[in-house]
């Protein structure tokens, strides 16, 4: 879970960097996409690897969810959480499945579209209010998922030390917010007509 989560996080970083070119112009984004696709071997290895990582993360996530449900055959009548902000950790499977739905729709639109005019495709896509809103909803789900997932990953790897507790706590807000802002402003940019 944590290993595949880390790979997905690294992918998110590279994807965010690529997409950031959209802030400058669609033509710069187009040239980034053209550059990428001029190395078919790299694209093929990375896209297959990424698919595998997604599959591993989703299958282990769903198995974990089912196994853990079985570990308490009968639930409590009164369910009180002693931890107050437990919404993100308790809904990992649901935020994850929403991201999964998003990834399916997003790849259908982008990966199997015409790469030669990808910049235009993106601009057209975000012209649609509903689609843009769905994208933003998915980015919120991603931020919620990461707000537990990032810290959870570090704890799973055993990265925990009293000197760094505050730092790690801050990172678990900063990392999801960073991705939310970066990805979320792209559809807004096009919706409000400032994207070009």
């Amino acid at each position: 879970m944590a290993c595949s989560g880390l790979c997905l996080l690294l992918f998110l970083c590279s994807h965010a960097a690529g997409n950031a070119t959209l802030f400058i112009s669609t033509s710069l984004f187009q040239s980034y996409a053209d550059q990428l696709h001029s190395h078919p071997l790299i694209v093929s290895v990375f896209s297959k690897g990424l698919f595998l990582v997604f599959a591993i993360h989703i299958v282990t996530g769903v198995l974990l969810f089912l196994q853990n449900r079985k570990a308490r055959p009968r639930n409590y009548k009164v369910r009180t959480r002693a931890i107050k902000n437990s919404q993100a950790s308790g809904s990992m499977i649901y935020s994850g499945l929403l991201i999964c739905l998003f990834v399916l729709i997003h790849t259908a639109a982008v990966s199997f579209g015409d790469h030669g005019r990808i910049g235009v495709t993106i601009a057209e896509m975000f012209g649609s209010f509903l689609l843009s809103m769905f994208y933003i909803l998915a980015f919120i789900a991603l931020a919620v998922h990461l707000s537990h997932g990032f810290w959870s990953m570090l704890q799973t790897f055993g990265i925990s030390h009293p000197n760094y507790t505050t730092f790690i706590h801050r990172l678990s807000y900063v990392v999801p917010l960073f991705f939310l802002l970066l990805f979320g402003t792209i559809p807004l940019l096009f919706l409000f007509g400032t994207g070009n």
Partner: protein, 250 residues
């Protein structure tokens, strides 16, 4: 000043491990707020006995918060609403007159219910049997300071050793995981020089026993740390994860 309160109780009653079980409702009047939670249950049981009914079975022993025998889920929280307090040390002054208190047994696939609020927590004992010990040759009493241990390390080990093995971590975990218990027991020994000899075997065999006993998997919900009557930190779970990786790879 002694006050007394009237309370309503909803308690899980189950005849034996195979019976279906259900909640039963009781009312108690004039309960002194100086009573402990278990004393309140004693009063209920005396009343039930006088009425010719079966008293509520619940586990307890020391009644001073050190043995780890007591424990039930009170209004959804293992050991009740007070932080770092065992059920036997919880007092009725934390409740108001007219309150309804729902009392349920610790629920986990690994803790089968024996009767009413009593569960069989021997799965935790089997985790200890798998490696929660150090093998040393006994002889004359060794000098107390024969093995120097830095005070910070001794403190960390003592903090982990404060675990009384009550199982509240399992009861409160949404996944029924026993990682806080196992993490504390592994940490307590792996931090000390005496625990080095069996360090790797210990981590691997305690963790595999934990898995085979039917506990769930930790997803870092932090519920265990919040209810632990001894305030055991989840940094012990992180340490166990490091021990596991080290023992598996090197």
């Amino acid at each position: 000043m002694t006050n007394s309160i009237d309370i309503n109780l909803e308690i899980w009653r189950q005849k034996d491990s195979r019976a279906a079980g259900e909640f039963e409702v009781y009312t108690l009047q004039d309960i002194s707020t100086d009573m402990s939670f278990l004393e309140m249950l004693d009063v209920l049981n005396e009343k039930l006995t006088r009425e010719g009914k079966e008293p509520v079975a619940f586990d307890h022993d020391c009644r001073e918060g050190i043995c780890g025998m007591c424990g039930a889920v009170v209004n959804g929280i293992a050991h009740g609403p007070e932080p770092e307090t065992t059920l036997c040390q919880l007092h009725m002054r934390h409740f108001k007159s007219g309150d309804t208190i729902v009392i349920e047994p610790f629920r986990s696939r690994a803790f089968p219910i024996v009767k009413d609020l009593i569960t069989d927590r021997s799965a935790l004992d089997r985790i200890i049997q798998a490696g929660g010990f150090v093998s040393i040759n006994t002889g004359g009493t060794p000098d107390a300071n024969a093995i120097p241990i830095p005070s910070a390390t001794a403190e960390l080990s003592m903090d982990a050793a404060a675990c009384i093995g009550c199982g509240a971590c399992v009861a409160s975990c949404p996944n029924g995981a026993a990682m806080l218990f196992t993490g504390a027991k592994i940490s307590q020994l792996c931090l000390l020089p005496q625990g080095q000899k069996e360090r790797k075997e210990r981590a691997l065999s305690m963790i595999s026993t934990m898995d085979s006993e039917g506990f769930g998997n930790c997803t870092n919900e932090r519920e265990c740390e919040a209810v632990c009557p001894k305030g055991i930190s989840i940094s012990n779970i992180a340490r166990m994860n490091r021990e596991f990786v080290k023992a598996s790879l090197f």
